[in-house]
């Protein structure tokens, strides 16, 4: 399978240390409903499989079945998508290459259930074979915006937790003598 060359620009998919990844993979005929049911079932089953893929800030799976067109749009000819596709998009830490290494290793057994229902996927949806497949189906960003592109997922989570702890600490330690305050602060934060 042809994969993307290194000359392919990385920067268009980046903002700060963050990257945006999008792959569109055609879904095998007859598998659309099963794939949709499987993806929608994550919430019903209380599963968060992308928790396993470190470096994922926000991601989505979207099943695309048509390009919308109405007479009022004055589009000369409507265009139908020949094969329904699965769009997987992720806003992630670091390089896409490293992220896909993690995803293809850790998103098991879900990857098989997801991309195994797509045309041309490897027999076993993991490791390098899956990574090559996803890169082959990658669509570049035109413009990618990240509001806090320098902050990694661990950094964001730690900062959120720390802010909560600081607010509680400040409330609990009002009027505490200096030495006691210092010791408590060191125990809590340093």
């Amino acid at each position: 399978m042809r994969t993307r060359s290194k000359k392919h620009s990385r920067s268009i998919n980046e903002s700060g240390q963050s990257s945006g990844f999008l792959a569109m993979t055609a879904i095998k005929p007859g598998e659309i409903d099963a794939l949709r049911a499987y993806l929608e079932g994550f919430r019903d089953r209380g599963e968060r499989p992308l928790d396993k893929v470190s470096g994922t800030h926000m991601a989505r799976f979207v099943i695309v079945e048509k390009f919308n067109c109405k007479p009022v749009y004055k589009q000369r000819r409507a265009e139908n998508i020949a094969c329904a596709s699965l769009a997987f998009s992720s806003n992630l830490d670091g390089s896409i290459d490293r992220y896909l290494d993690v995803l293809c290793e850790q998103l098991q057994p879900e990857a098989q259930e997801i991309w195994g229902r797509c045309v041309g996927s490897p027999a076993t949806c993991e490791g390098k074979a899956l990574k090559d497949y996803l890169k082959h189906n990658q669509i570049d960003c035109g413009f990618f915006y990240a509001a806090y592109g320098e902050a990694t997922v661990p950094k964001v989570k730690a900062a959120l937790d720390q802010r909560e702890r600081l607010m509680a600490f400040a409330t609990e330690h009002q009027g505490v003598p200096a030495a006691e305050l210092q010791q408590a602060f060191i125990e809590e934060f340093a």
Binding site: I63, A82, L166, P177
Partner: protein, 202 residues
Amino acid sequence: MSIAPPAGPITATGTASRNIDGQAISITVFSTIKPWGKVFLPILFAVTKRAPKLTKTLVQLSFIHFARWSLVKQIPHNGPPQPEQKLRYTHMYFESNFNGGWEEYIDAFSHILTSGMAAFWGSSFGFPKALPVGPFKEYITENETAASHYYSAYPEATITMVKAALEVDEHLVPLKRGAQNLSPEAFQDAYTKMLTDAQRSL
């Protein structure tokens, strides 16, 4: 081809429940690009990326975590049974990860980013202009596709909370590093100053 089922109940946020993970909301929109947009949009994207001032308003909106625009010129081909398809038009994929309500999001986009909206979507067939907002909301609704699964690593955090937490960290780091080397009185002064400086973010 199967018919997509309804995208779940519309929630108080104005969007389908499957587009939501905690505070985070997703929007995914495909629009079809007029021929001149194939030339214009790559230039617009390049200029916008190289001129951060142009995204200043986007930053100030302060409810968008991540957003992206991509041009889909071809659907990647993977062999049979996927038919080879040469797309007649280029299509634009837009996604946003935001917090708040869908209605408020579109309102803000329309009223604050009016010229930016015209630039990014002006070459899309059927784009009715950002204002008045009613037809624009209708256009987005028509072209939006609900997520089958949406994920946020920190679902309970709004972007304001994330930004505040990162600002607090900047204020806190020097004190964490120096706390052990200060006298209690000097520490107390530094602690009070840190809280004062970080107050806006707490």
